[in-house]
Amino acid sequence: MTTTVAAVAEGTDAPYALSHLDALESEAVHIFREVAGEFERPVILFSGGKDSIVMLHLALKAFAPAAIPFSLLHVDTGHNFPEVLEYRDRTVERHGLRLHVASVQDYIDRGVLKERPDGTRNPLQTLPLTEKIQAEKFDAVFGGGRRDEEKARAKERVFSLRDEFSQWDPRRQRPELWNLYNGRHAPGEHVRVFPLSNWTELDVWQYIAREGIELPEIYFAHEREVFSRSGMWLTPGEWGGPKDGETVEKRLVRYRTVGDMSCTGAVDSDAVTLDDVIVEIAASRLTERGATRADDKMSEAAMEDRKREGYF
């Protein structure tokens, strides 16, 4: 056993071992191509956040030199960062993609959804998302979720079957064996697909650096007006802040995740380049969600409960 291996590689790992980024990239590309081969109407959830940006980059590589055979879907909370929306539209145009938008604000305006007292719109995304999936008859929906993000996500399959109500039932998940993904589903059901399942936050940043992928500027340290709420630096805006007793100040901050402005906090940082960010992430003693997401702190099972309802 050992002798044959050594004979091939001449005593070293090179050249037939893949670096961990190459291995993760290859696996993600395999997942994109499986979906392209087996589904009728796949769509990529694209928020303009780093994970969805990496997903799009991988999809572009998977089908090069052809165009990617998927459209994009953004769930617009109505409280998005303007820099991120601008990035989203620029990206869609540059690659000649089709963008679907499901708007939380529309649902609120129509009285279908009610604004929560805390102003957080993350849980409100589920209904517009799932109705859009049904209306457009999407049968595979790519999400940028990573298993390292959260313990309920650690249990998520790469191909995750959702019923006709888009619900996730962790007890009824299919075992995933080898790289033989099972995408079978009944009409009305769909499959959530997570090509970045095995990536960590650090992998994502290293890959962005290696590939030279452009990101929205809010991921890098910049002077910004913020105010403090529940231990997080939030950006003021019409969404509902600051309130009485909350004061706005200028700080040098950056974002680790990009989501709804009402629940995505900035972190103090002087990381202005990708390498700075990587050094900062590698040294951080907080997870990205622990540092900057209010919605996951609501209860011990907040993520699991939202996922069961159809959240990504």
Binding site: A23, H30, A66, D148
Partner: protein, 442 residues
């Protein structure tokens, strides 16, 4: 800049753990995560909060890994979870498989992608039935590296003789099963001996700690003994002004390597051509090897579609409609003779029928139960399957990727069974048919 480069140079090891609850698997996983600084402050705080709310005195590290409501409520682990940690030398994906009664399908799931399995033993109990099951599964799944972690050495006064006896018994058993390599390590997951740091209590042990071994075990593939295989996933045809005639066959190389200029054959059609180019995600290369996702271009415009297999012309597997395999049944409803199923092999899914279930394997003593009539959840058995179309299958012992398949229920899409083509380690002798009149033999 140097940070990016240094961190990028690491390799990836996928490994799985096996052990029953009392063997200290959670503690070992917890310690690997904790001592490699992969548990971050907010996660630990969340565990502390939850533990206090439940009236427990110290933080319950099992809460780090039990992610679902039902798991926390019942104090059990339902399913395989995947965990991630890294050292300066390597990145790790750990398939954390639960140790309770449904261990077989969960361990098969975890081990199917693992290059290494850690089997835990309680030093006080030695090799028990459960250990033999774990070794048999590792052998069956052809996991290349097996680590025997003899745990709770602190409870046997760190005696070398206790460890040596267990290691010897296990290694002999595992090698007989066909496990290629066993590394035995005496540890105490609770006290931290030989998990990440070398133990001060066991001077007599000169080998690596668990983490050192995980960091250094080779993850390269033995290309010289591999039959090169490329299952075609998708045909890339841009049909643009820039690429009017581009026709590429995209797929992830399942085994071996391919070179530009090589003569290849496409199965099942049997048509041949030469590789005129290989694109590695947009970049042309002259050689590509296993687990790389590539796009292959051929000299001739032959009919190739998703589901086909590209192989070297000089090394093509036979195609067959009759597959014999060892399977692990993973669904709750049983698998029976006459069952009509779908079989997914590589990128091809075909109709199939279960023609026979010649035997069921008892993992405890590796005995064969002839003609069980059906396989229920967690059963391992031999199965004969007839497929509607010929498939180019390899023996699982030659290729874990092209020698494996899954069976799918055509009605509701349930994944029924995990299959490994070819002879099983456990069936050297033909099964004696002692059941001619038991009513099960069709």
């Amino acid at each position: 800049m140097s940070t990016t480069t240094e961190l990028s140079e690491t390799t990836l090891l996928r490994f799985a753990t096996a052990g029953s609850v009392d063997d200290g698997k959670s503690t070992l996983v917890g310690r690997l995560l904790h001592d490699s600084k992969s548990v971050l402050t907010d996660q630990l705080e969340a565990v502390e909060r939850a533990s206090t709310a439940r009236g427990q005195e110290g933080p319950d590290l099992a809460l780090l890994t039990d992610g679902l409501r039902a798991e926390r409520e019942q104090g059990i682990t339902i399913d395989v979870a995947y965990r991630y940690f890294a050292t300066a030398k390597r990145r790790f994906i750990l398939a954390d498989t639960p140790g309770h009664v449904q261990y077989t399908r969960n361990m098969v799931t975890g081990a199917s992608t693992a290059e290494l399995t850690v089997i835990l033993i309680d030093a006080r109990n030695g090799v028990v039935e459960q250990t033999r099951r774990h070794a048999a599964l590792a052998a069956l799944l052809r996991v290349p590296h097996v680590v025997l972690a003899v745990n709770k050495m602190d409870l046997v006064d760190y005696q070398e003789s206790v460890f040596a006896a267990i290691a010897e018994e296990f290694t002999a058993y595992a090698l007989e099963l066909g496990v290629p390599e066993v590394t035995a390590i005496p540890i105490s997951a609770l006290a931290g001996d030989n998990v990440v740091e070398p133990s001060a209590n066991m001077d007599w042990y000169g080998g690596p700690t668990v983490l050192e071994h995980l960091e250094t075990v080779p993850v390269i593939h033995d290309l010289s003994h591999c039959h090169a295989r490329l299952p075609v996933q998708f045909v890339i045809r841009p049909q643009t002004a820039e690429h009017p005639d581009y026709r590429g066959y995209a797929g992830q190389i399942a085994a071996g390597s391919f070179r530009v200029g090589e003569s290849v054959t496409v199965l099942p059609s049997g048509r041949s051509s030469k590789i005129s180019g290989i694109d590695l995600l947009g970049e042309p290369v002259s050689i590509a090897w296993t687990t790389q996702s590539v796009t292959v271009l051929l000299e001739d415009d032959i009919d190739i579609s998703r589901g086909d297999l590209i192989v070297p012309s000089k090394d093509a597997p036979p195609t067959t409609q009759d597959i014999e395999a060892t399977v692990c049944h993973v669904a709750d409803a049983p698998l029976t003779v006459g069952h009509r199923v779908l079989l997914k092999h590589g990128t091809r899914t075909v109709k199939a029928i279960v023609k026979d279930i010649p035997s069921r394997l008892t993992l405890d003593d590796l005995s064969l139960h002839p003609h069980p009539g059906q396989l229920v959840a967690n059963d391992i058995g031999r199965v004969k399957i007839r497929t509607a179309e010929p498939l180019p299958v390899d023996s699982y012992s030659d290729s874990r990727r092209t020698g494996s398949f899954i069976l799918i229920d055509p009605n509701d899409g349930t994944t029924l069974t995990a299959g490994m083509v070819g002879e099983s380690f456990a069936s050297p002798e033909p099964v004696k048919d002692a059941s001619e009149d038991d009513g099960w033999d069709f």
